[in-house]
């Protein structure tokens, strides 16, 4: 059980760090908007995956659930990229 607790603590720390980097990227106006946009999309996908696999433990779930969550995350981030990029 100790190993599981350490793992979830690491996931929590990584989520907070990724959130901090996202905010910095978003509000640092010297960054190229395309670079900022893609960075935030990638960070959002990584954070979602950490919650789904690390906290929800979907990596231990049946294949059907794993597939659903993977497809959902790809669909949502995909639509952010496809629709959102057109505004830049």
């Amino acid at each position: 059980m100790q190993k599981a607790q350490i793992r979830t603590a690491i996931i929590w720390a990584l989520l907070l760090i990724a959130t901090g980097i996202s905010f910095f990227t978003s509000h640092h106006h010297e960054l190229n908007p395309n670079v900022a946009y893609v960075s935030i999309c990638i960070l959002s996908y990584c954070k979602c995956r950490m919650v789904v696999m690390g906290f929800m433990e979907v990596n231990h779930a049946p294949v059907g659930w794993k597939t659903f969550f993977e497809l959902w995350m790809m669909a949502v981030i995909g639509e952010i990229v496809i629709f959102g990029f057109s505004t830049l």
Binding site: M1, A4, Q5, T8, A9, I11, W12, L15, L16, T19, S22, F23, T25, S26, H27, P33, A36, Y37, I40, C41, S44, K47, C48, V51, V52, G54, F55, M56, W72, A75, V76, E79, I80, F83, G84, S86, T87, L88
Partner: protein, 169 residues
């Protein structure tokens, strides 16, 4: 089902955003990042505590599980309070659901999400009452894992909402 509903709402928001980028850009400037940062911290931390509670329940460390769920509920209440303050601030600066498409989507999507947070808090409160020796281990496990799954889903949806309304340039 909730995740599919939110997926459709996110798509509708993004479609509208691509049609009226200037309106969305100007509206986004009225958002206060500090509220979003605090709320993200609350939800990520409460999700972590719920995950710890699940591990504690599996190894029958019920007092630890109850403490973790208790603090997760407290952080959830902080989220609700911060969200209400943020709504109040937005109304004060003249933003409301009929202001423009950005705020229409913002109030609808975050409102539905907030309802899920409040429902999730109710569920966690009930789950906490089941984390005691008098409840059958299998029943305890079902409740904590169901409650945890719902709460993590609420956190997951918030991470997308955060990007859409506060972060994306």
């Amino acid at each position: 089902m909730e995740m599919c509903l939110f997926g459709v709402l996110f798509g509708a928001f993004l479609k509208e955003r691509s049609a009226s980028p200037d309106v969305f850009r100007d509206a986004q400037h009225l958002m206060v990042p500090l509220f979003a940062f605090l709320n993200t911290t609350y939800l990520i931390t409460s999700s972590w505590l719920v995950a710890l509670a699940v591990h504690a329940t599996r190894s029958s460390r019920l007092p630890n599980a109850r403490i973790c769920v208790g603090w997760a509920i407290v952080l959830g209440l902080f989220f609700v309070a911060t969200k209400i303050i943020e709504y109040w601030h937005e109304v004060e600066v003249g933003a409301n659901p009929s202001s423009n498409a950005f705020f229409m989507f913002y109030f609808v999507i975050t409102g539905i999400h907030l309802a899920h947070v409040i429902g999730g808090l109710g569920l966690l409160t009930f789950v906490r009452t089941q984390l005691k020796d008098g409840v059958a281990p299998q029943k305890r496990r079902v409740w904590i894992e169901s409650g945890a799954t719902f709460w993590h889903m609420v956190d997951l949806l918030w991470l997308i909402i955060l990007s859409l309304f506060y972060l994306l340039p």
